[in-house]
Symmetry: C2
């Protein structure tokens, strides 16, 4: 034992779990470990089976989550040469809505021989998109009934969220629904494994399960209007007891202490969501400073003193990010994914060879070439909808568009146009917040992209006209969790009593600040006006060609 | 000497000249020879100079045209083992408008020491685009004055044509204009070299120089309204004597006989244009059968009994293709170029490797992959405007668009979408003809593409709903010229008295016929309706975003 105290944050991502060991007093990241899920994202067939899964399925194996703990935590302790006795807490964050049916004792149905072969018994992860019909119907019913909670979610509940996913199972596999004692977020399930306590957190409940601190869940009548079998879904399959973020869920169980090498009884807070813990990890615990978690997609978070209804936001949840404040969430469904698709699909051999011979990756080469251009020089304009539009149109059926191509258009031109398109998309979201009275004065970026692409950061500053700072940690999920672990441990154990104190002492910003360049901003203002015209034309019903082409595609595939 | 008689056709293309020796009675192609131009397309600096040419310049060296004769014709005679005494005629066709200033004796100005260093003294080829300001002004004046010939050219004279190109020289290099005794099409200049006779042909005069069989040139007042110095341009620099296609221009001169190894005095018809000679070469000498010459771009030709005004056609010229009929020309500025750009710019290494390992080129691999899809399956829709839109919008400032992309979009999807886009573009042209009363019952394809891409041909049949046949010859320019040589020679010399007889005996179709597949047509009808909506939205002024982005690009480049 030493004077230094440590916490561990574990961030459960889409492909792997990432753990970080943090010095509580300084915020120093002492050690990091990553463990990829053995079964990865299950979207073709269940492990050990040849039977193809239905379209739009995306599942995971919950045993992979336990393996992450077993592999990464001993590695952290070894790598950091830290005495387990100095680790005062462990916390987790998860993708969401990532949910699973469990038995009475918390056992995932998919781990039982009886249900192992049924895909509906497995974990449906956030990007499982097979519940779209249920989401459509839910939104229809909510609108018809004038449900007052609907505007909190930008007017639309996503097919990615809890109720559509549960209802999908009820429709497609009622026997699984019947067999499930409860449905939980994986965020809560992993805490149940760590502590033996099922304590549902306010973040996933608020953002993904239509729960509200003051009003609770929608009424049973609403659920009955969806489907009579759902009338008692909250009492039968969920729970009305919801715990605020940072609350201690319990102490680490002896079994889990054995598995991880940590001391039993150390603090474990309630579950949390990757994007949401990133906010304090980026030093943000107050209104006016937007956090953009930029990776394959971008989550956008802002805090406010009051509840406001913002077009197309994913949700506003009281205490959903930071206690005492309203947390607004919006998102862009295709950012890093966009560039990755482009590099994989659209870049010719000469560029790959050039990159290799210069010891760069293709992204770096394209960034270097694209950075030589002035804004407006390539003549292109894209709509960044390769994966639909989350905010502010909330429409998964929108698709990508590139306009302005000529025979002289080069890969770096298209690459830059795609970056710019995502920046325009971010500006639409920011302007939506401001229009509704939620201030956005500054941007703090975190996630994987900011450290990898300076051009992208400068373009975002130029397009949005706002200063952009960058979080000190590159693993804002795991780091933010480590901060919440320190709060759950409390001051007396060597941690902090509030997330505000934890943020002040543990979180930091990098030295770099991206300032908008006025001449660039002036050109981008013109192109942004064109973007908005196209965005509204194709996104708000003037020409629904994207949806008709998508429907035709489905029809053709169904008939062939 | 044998019983078999032969003619030679020489097709002057953009990069090279191609000659073919044809058996007059059977149409058999006995020998072929190609000779690339020594100076190629001159667009960076004049040969032997370091001084950069102005933007949008595209010149050629007329001595390269003579070299083609000198190299290819002896090669044909050798390869075909044909006695020169059995060759009864030689004919040429050219790109157009490809024009040059000459001295009194027909010497190109650019070959004289005095003018050699002046770019305006060289041959301006068809894709020389520096006369756009003059073309814009010409169209403005013609519209203001209500010139009745304007609708014959779809309402717009192209910057590629003769009068803008002459006027450009007058504006930029008046001393060259002064020094030029005359301006001629290269099509007529080469005939002058072969025969010593300057006989201007009705095809280039009609399609490129605003000449009309019944009305002649526009009035001197019109030219004076453009520029007082142009009042007498026709009489000073051109000629009012125009000769119909197939007319004998003269006999081969002894000097040219010496150069080529042919007999002096054999028949040489007046000049012609590559795309226009392709029509009889494709067996078409009557209305109702559209000829599509498909290469880097596509020329579309139809014959009619009456003059009709068709939106966005390049021109309608009486006797312009076949004597006694009106020849309608339209065009798509980006077809093969489109696919070449895509393969060069947007196809990843894995595809190149796969193609190579299977002994295919990348086009073939993409065709194979794309052919596995049903129409509508990729969900994409493109506007084929990577090089502007020739017909029917006549707008070089339009640019390409691709819509419907997702993270699952693959190269073969985009490749197929680009092919389909050009087919939709062709259908717009066909419907424009039919709307104006010009029948299009069947399509005959020729040029380089039909033999190389079966999928493309099937898609064109499916999209247009018309049977597509393919010309027997793969070199429809040179072959068509050889047919006109047979007509100039006449029946008594072993040729034919009319192009109708020549077509009947010499031209042929391949056995393959592409039939529209009704199920495909039904899907394409739906997508075509979407194409037309986007075509009109972006092409007819509802949203001029493409032009504004292009203007912004110019502005940014000018300021940087």
């Amino acid at each position: 034992m030493s004077d230094n105290k440590y916490t561990i944050g574990v961030d459960y991502g889409t492909e792997s779990g990432r753990a970080v060991l943090v010095d509580v007093s300084t915020g120093e990241e002492v050690a990091t470990a990553v463990h990829p899920y053995g079964d990865g994202v299950i979207d073709e067939h269940l492990p050990g089976s040849d039977e193809p899964l239905p379209p739009d399925f995306a599942l995971q194996n919950p045993q992979d989550y336990i393996a992450v703990l077993q592999e990464t935590i001993p590695a952290l302790l070894r790598e950091g040469s830290v005495d387990p006795g100095d680790v005062i807490g462990i916390s987790t964050d998860f993708t969401a809505c990532t949910m699973l049916p469990i038995g009475e004792a918390g056992t995932p149905l998919c781990t039982t021989p009886e249900w192992r072969d049924n895909p509906y018994a497995w974990v449906k992860i956030w990007k499982h998109h097979a519940a779209q019909p249920e989401a459509n119907r839910l939104n229809e019913v909510a609108r018809e009934r004038g449900e007052t909670w609907l505007p909190r979610y930008g007017g639309k509940i996503s097919s990615e969220w809890l109720i559509p996913k549960i209802w999908e199972t009820l429709n497609q596999a009622p026997q699984v629904y019947e067999a499930a004692d409860r449905y939980v977020e994986a965020a809560d399930w992993i805490v149940l494994q760590l502590t033996g306590q099922e304590k549902r957190n306010s973040c996933t409940a608020g953002y993904k399960a239509i729960w509200n601190k003051r009003e609770g869940y929608p009424g049973d009548d609403f659920f009955a209007a969806l489907d009579p079998r759902l009338r008692h879904v909250v009492d039968d399959k969920l729970s009305r007891q919801i715990y605020p973020l940072g609350d201690r869920a319990g102490g680490l169980t002896p079994e889990m202490a054995e598995l991880t090498g940590l001391k039993p009884g150390i603090a474990v807070p309630v579950g949390n969501v990757d994007a949401h813990v990133a906010v304090p990890a980026s030093t943000v615990t107050e209104p006016g400073r937007l956090v953009a978690i930029m990776g394959t997609s971008t989550c956008i978070m802002v805090l406010g003193q009051e509840e406001r209804m913002v077009e197309g936001m994913c949700g506003v949840v009281e205490d959903g990010i930071i206690p005492g404040l309203f947390g607004f969430e919006a998102g862009q469904s295709c950012v890093g994914d966009h560039f990755a698709w482009f590099v994989e699909t659209c870049v010719p051999p000469a560029y790959h060879e050039q990159a290799q011979s210069r010891g760069l990756n293709v992204h770096q080469l394209l960034e270097e070439k694209a950075a030589r251009q002035q804004p407006g020089e390539h003549g292109l304009l894209a709509l960044d909808w390769w994966n639909g539009n989350r905010s502010i149109l909330v429409d998964v059926d929108l698709t990508g568009m590139l306009l302005g191509a000529t025979l002289l258009t080069r890969p770096e031109d298209m690459y830059r146009a795609l970056i710019e398109a995502t920046a325009y998309g971010a500006r639409v979201i920011i302007e939506g917040f401001e229009k509704s009275g939620v201030a956005v004065d500054e941007i703090v970026a975190c996630g994987g992209l900011p450290g990898r692409n300076k051009l992208l950061m400068q373009i975002y500053a130029d397009v949005t006209g706002r200063e952009i700072k960058v979080a000190g940690t590159e693993q804002s999920g795991a780091f933010g969790s480590a901060m919440f672990a320190a709060v759950a441990a409390g001051k007396d154990a060597g941690g902090y009593d509030t997330i505000f104190e934890a943020a002040k002492n543990m979180a930091s910003l990098q030295d770099v600040v991206y300032q908008p360049i006025p001449a660039h901003k002036a050109v981008y203002d013109q192109i942004y006006a064109e973007y908005v015209t196209l965005h509204d034309h194709f996104g708000r019903g003037a020409n629904d060609v994207m949806k008709r082409l998508k429907a035709l595609k489905q029809q053709v595939l169904a008939e062939s």
